[in-house]
Amino acid sequence: MRGFPIAGEGRQKRARVPSPLAGQGAARVSGFLLAAFIVIASPAFAKPQRVVSLNLCADELALRLADAGVVKSVTWLSQDPRNANMAAQAAALPANDGHVEEALAYGPDLVLVGPFADPASIALLKQVGAPVVEVGAPQTLDGVRREIRALAATLGEPQRGEALIADMDARLAGVAVDPSRPRLKAVVLRPNGFTVGPGSLVDEILTRAGLDNLAARLDIAADEQVPLEVVALLGADLLILDRDEERAPSLADAILDHPAVAALARRMTVVSLPSRLWTCGGPEAAEAVERLAAAAAAARARQATQ
């Protein structure tokens, strides 16, 4: 089983309770723990020089934050521009399949794993003394900021982290929502018929874009499979698809091409956001907010002409 999180494959699990610190003299930084960014064996205080990432989302954040040449290997998923935001940079690096022995081949002084990493893999890495840091899956924009800050500190690049956060916040601030107008009703449809409920990052992204997430009215968890007919009958103004045109076929994606979706497109505005904006909770959340706000404006214009 590959250790990559395609959000939507299952319900988002909360970050696992950290196992007791194993490395001798490891510094426990309480702020990291609060940040759902779990330090399992803290790296040395010096900047890590040989970083291997075994998770798509960790790949992207590390490539954004670390000096060139520090990240030695990223997952194969990061090299596909259909999945990843940092594909150009990732393509220049050797790819891994998320296996422990691949990571160890680089003699890493830091191994980044995702929140769904196999506990056996983490135990194995710790056993051979490789420092492991888990990069979480944030469920709020605040969580995204904390995640960036925590990894920037781990990589010894705090200024770069703050700059990344400031850039994201500036883009978010650029999206103006008129509070006097009623919010457009929206619903999200992702591969395998998943939608997003309250308490998820995408729900917050919708709210920031001036939309009212209809799925929040259903009795569902943050990320849950919902039958297509329920989505169709919610009465949304805007149907938001997590969809890539050029991706290889799968049943999961086929639901987004269902004729019912096409028939509904005559009644509501359908907007597709590429998967790379959904999969990880990174600074690309700002781009998702911008695109959705633009789609909402287009939907209002269309409603006005009808």
Partner: protein, 337 residues
């Protein structure tokens, strides 16, 4: 064997009529049952008036294909089961048990995930048919005529596990990160969120398969008297075999390409109905098809009513009924032997 000895008290025509009414009722129930509260009469009125309201879209594009495909696939599996059982003269010859469905799933998977499905419209169902033909030929090479039950089941196990392994391999080779998780659909089957175009694509091949299978009735009846007698009555057994393999492959292959492999329907329906047609394999064909449709539609209504999320795969529901039945059948055959 006389009809009376088999406990058949029902006439053939009334039986067919009763089963057809039951199948229609099951299809109607499938249309009514769903996850969202849908005002079916209002949706129907909208659909006929050409108003594409959300309710009409749900009825036309989601509920209708689901009910129609349930009927079509159930009929195919029930009919193919009865026909294969007549040909191999073995009540265990279900398309799922002997590996024809598994082969069809493999064929459909290869076509779909390689991107061939987009090349021409019929590619998907034809992929399923090709896989089913391959599995049937492989099986026939191992089993031949008049092979024992043991050989049939072992050959089925072999074909099934080989096809399953190749299906998993094909899914893992896909660059789409979701593909590897989709083996459950192909091995267990589901009617969730299928579409009208899928129904139209599968229907012609399926109906051709039905025609071939239903036309084999008299030859199957003659075959119960032994191969020599059947030949002396003027039936060409080589042609019969080709006709049945082609018919089963067309009906099952096209069905599996849309819904994935759904097991045990072709076992349960003929088993329950055989006594009612006086054990005549020719008469069992149409009756089993209708029975299969009823079984599958009932299972599909059940998976939507059981509060389990995500929805249970159809093969889970049919196996819960079918597997104990298969066990009992094997046990009885063992005692009779």
């Amino acid at each position: 064997m006389s009809a009376r000895a088999a406990g058949a008290e029902v006439g053939y025509a009334p039986l067919v009529a009763a089963l057809a009414v039951l199948a229609l009722a099951a299809a109607f129930a499938s249309l009514m049952v769903g996850y969202a509260r849908l005002d079916v009469p209002a949706a129907l009125a909208d659909a006929f008036a050409g108003r594409s309201t959300a309710a009409a879209v749900v009825l036309e594009q989601i509920r209708l294909p689901r009910a129609a495909l349930g009927t079509m696939v159930g009929f195919s599996l029930g009919l193919a089961g009865a026909a294969l059982q007549g040909l191999l003269r073995n009540p265990l010859a279900d398309p799922g048990v002997i590996g024809v469905s598994g082969g069809a799933a493999l064929g459909a998977v290869v076509v779909f995930y390689s991107g061939l499905a987009g090349a021409f419209a019929l590619a998907m169902p034809l992929g399923g048919v090709a896989g089913a033909v391959l599995a049937a030929l492989l099986l026939y090479a191992l089993v031949g005529r008049g092979a024992g039950t043991m050989t049939l089941i072992l050959a089925g196990v072999t074909v099934n596990s080989f096809a399953g392994a190749l299906t998993a391999l094909a899914l893992n080779l896909s660059p789409n990160p979701y593909a590897a998780y989709e083996i459950m659909f192909w091995l267990m089957g589901s009617l969730a969120d299928r579409s009208l175009p899928q129904l139209w694509l599968a229907l012609p091949l399926t109906v051709a398969g039905w025609a071939l299978l239903l036309a084999s009735g008299p030859a199957l009846d003659a075959l119960t008297l032994g191969e020599d007698t059947a030949t002396s009555l003027g039936f060409d057994l080589g042609r019969l075999r080709a006709q049945l393999v082609a018919g089963a492959a067309l009906a099952v292959g096209a069905a599996v390409a849309v819904t994935g492999a759904i097991g045990f329907v072709g076992l349960v329906a003929p088993h329950l109905l055989r006594p009612l047609v006086g054990n005549r394999p020719g008469r069992l064909l149409l009756v089993s098809g209708l029975g299969g449709a009823i079984v599958l539609l009932a299972a599909d209504v059940a998976v939507r009513l059981i509060p389990v999320h995500p929805e249970l795969k159809l093969g889970v529901a049919t196996a819960l009924i079918g597997a104990p039945l298969l066990y009992g059948l094997i046990d009885r055959m063992r005692k009779e032997a």
